[in-house]
């Protein structure tokens, strides 16, 4: 035998009983050279670039699932930020047409989500960026698979509050146009957005990237939860060690499959994103890991420290396992896509304030949480601005994916089904910050950015 029975048993048990998988393989595609003055030709070139590449991705990823016996949950495509390629066609109806073309290419290529309908506006918006932002309500409600993003700030640029103000209104329109707010689930607001993030809805193919690249997201928290649950009373140093060892193994699997996929597609291998990402499958939950550590519910006092310990161990194990760690490499704690997070929000264990606090350590943002439809746009902007300020000042990525549900009240539970799960509607602070937010302008860059 080239491998021991114990080693085979451990891996086989992970795949069979602990939701061990590759969370996502995302093909980044450069669209810059598709730009053409003839718009219909431009659209055709975009379609012809994406569809066959997506088909190849899906076909080869399926072969690897069979070969390694490890499910690859998501196969997706991220493209060059669309505002950039539309600079010479900056008209609202053309943005909608471009989005429809991307949607069609994704559908025909067999992928469920395509990321990149967004703009980098951390310091200011070009005309194209502004038109893209205006087009978001139409695009997110009239296309099925296109995901949008905005990078609204960075540690070196500060934060573009004017764009954050506009976004509050835009997201309200997205919510209304898409009926139950579902369009909001396809949009992420960032600061310090990584150019090689493989996770939707915020994935895009950055301008520093090659023509193609394969980026991989590793397995979810199911495997980690099981080892934490099996070590009920050990101290935190020992707990960190077992998490580190487990993450090493799952990251190595991600690296292996990512590299083999890139080799087969004859494209460069980009990064392994070592984020822990929950799914709606029972037990495949980051909050369940924290609860297995000894918290009665996620959101209880101690949650921030537990999350800090968890992700520090994940990063140490992951960094040892892969030379190319990148993307977000934090943790996702979506309120709707993680059944323990949903439960904690419904039971009152988890508030918006605690959700925000968790992002100060290792979480990459306030993700998939819902607020009542009558929340004023300035308040939406203020929630986003608070979260993004954490990222600007602490030199990290933070993000917001907020669902505004028309007609909903705090405590309501809205079921989107499938990947998106059930969204509990959370209470927002009733006091106003509108006068502060309306000041607009740009929050200056952080003094921590002056490193040269």
């Amino acid at each position: 035998m080239t491998v021991s029975v114990n080693e085979v048993f451990e891996t086989a048990r992970m795949t069979l009983y602990q939701n061990f998988n590759i969370r996502t393989t995302t093909l980044g595609i450069n669209l810059k050279d598709c730009i053409h003055s003839d718009f219909s030709r431009f659209l055709k070139q975009v379609y012809d670039r994406i569809k066959p590449a997506a088909e190849s991705l899906v076909r080869e990823a399926k072969k690897l699932e069979i070969l390694y016996g490890v499910p690859i949950i998501n196969k997706r495509v991220a493209v060059t930020p669309v505002s950039l390629i539309m600079e010479t066609h900056a008209e609202p109806e053309k943005f909608l047409e471009m989005a429809r073309t991307l949607d069609q290419a994704a559908r025909d290529g067999g992928i469920d989500y395509l990321g990149g309908f967004g703009a980098l506006v951390q310091k200011g918006a070009t005309k194209s960026d502004a038109v893209l932002m205006e087009s978001l309500p139409e695009v997110l409600s009239k296309t099925e698979r296109v995901c949008g993003f905005l990078n609204l700030g960075s540690t070196v640029a500060g934060m573009n509050l004017d764009a954050v103000i506009a976004l509050g209104q835009i997201l309200k329109e997205v919510a209304e146009k898409s009926g139950n707010g579902i369009g909001c689930a396809k949009f992420v607001a960032f600061v310090n957005a990584p150019e090689d993030n493989p996770f939707m809805a915020g994935a895009f193919h950055g301008i520093g990237e090659p023509d193609f690249s394969i980026n991989v997201g590793i397995s979810g928290p199911g495997v980690v939860r099981d080892v934490v649950a099996a070590n009920k009373t050990c101290d935190l140093t020992a707990l960190s060690e077992v998490i580190k060892r487990t993450t090493f193994k799952i990251t190595r699997a991600g690296e292996l499959i990512g590299r083999e996929l890139a080799r087969r597609l004859a494209v460069p291998f980009g990064i392994v994103d070592i984020s822990l990402a929950s799914t709606t499958a029972a037990g495949d939950s980051v909050a369940a890991v924290l609860e297995a550590m000894g918290l009665e519910r996620v959101g209880a006092h101690g949650s921030t420290m537990a999350l800090a310990l968890l992700m520090d161990a994940v990063k140490k194990g992951g960094a040892m396992a892969s030379t190319n760690v990148g993307g977000l490499s934090g943790t996702f704690i979506p309120v709707s896509e993680d059944d323990r997070m949903t439960a904690a929000a419904l039971e009152g264990a988890l508030s918006l304030d605690k959700l925000e606090a968790l992002t100060a350590v290792c979480s990459v943002g306030m993700d998939m949480f819902a607020v009542p439809g009558d929340t004023p746009p300035e308040k939406i902007s203020a929630i986003i601005a608070d979260e993004l300020a954490i990222g600007v000042i602490n030199n990290k990525t933070t993000a917001v994916r907020i669902i505004i549900i028309p007609g909903a009240k705090p405590g309501d539970l809205v079921d989107y089904g499938g990947l998106l799960g059930r969204v509990p509607v959370m209470a927002v602070n009733r006091f106003s910050s509108a006068d502060f937010i309306r000041r607009g302008g740009r929050m200056p860059s952080s003094v921590t950015s002056m490193r040269n």
Binding site: T2, V5, V8, F9, E60, L256
Partner: protein, 105 residues
């Protein structure tokens, strides 16, 4: 600009190529017989077999060389899963490289 050419997708190198068939569940008559018959039908050679009881699970692993198999690996996998269903066992086939990368530095 790099072109996407499906024909550029490279094939495996020659030589042996190992996968491991893992059987988890309750020990019973006919496990080896049924699995080895299926593997033989797909022209897959069994190079080694080991079994033991771990954490209360009966575990059997087979190291197999599928280099000469003309079959689609998906059909082999489906066949193994069918046997697993009939005998109430969890059966998987996974490439050797997965175990080596996960458990070796």
């Amino acid at each position: 600009m790099q072109k996407f050419d499906p024909n550029s997708i490279r094939v495996e190198e020659p030589g042996k190529e190992y996968s491991f068939v893992t059987v988890l569940g309750r020990d019973q008559k006919g496990i080896v017989a049924k699995i080895s018959t299926l593997l033989f039908q797909h022209n897959i050679n069994i190079e080694d077999i080991a079994q033991k009881v771990m954490h209360g699970h009966f575990v059997m692993i087979m190291m197999v060389d599928f280099k000469d198999s003309p079959s689609d690996l998906e059909d082999v996998k489906t066949g193994l899963e069918k046997i697993g269903k009939e005998m109430n066992l969890d059966i998987q086939i996974q490439h050797e490289a997965l175990f080596k990368s996960m458990h070796r530095i």
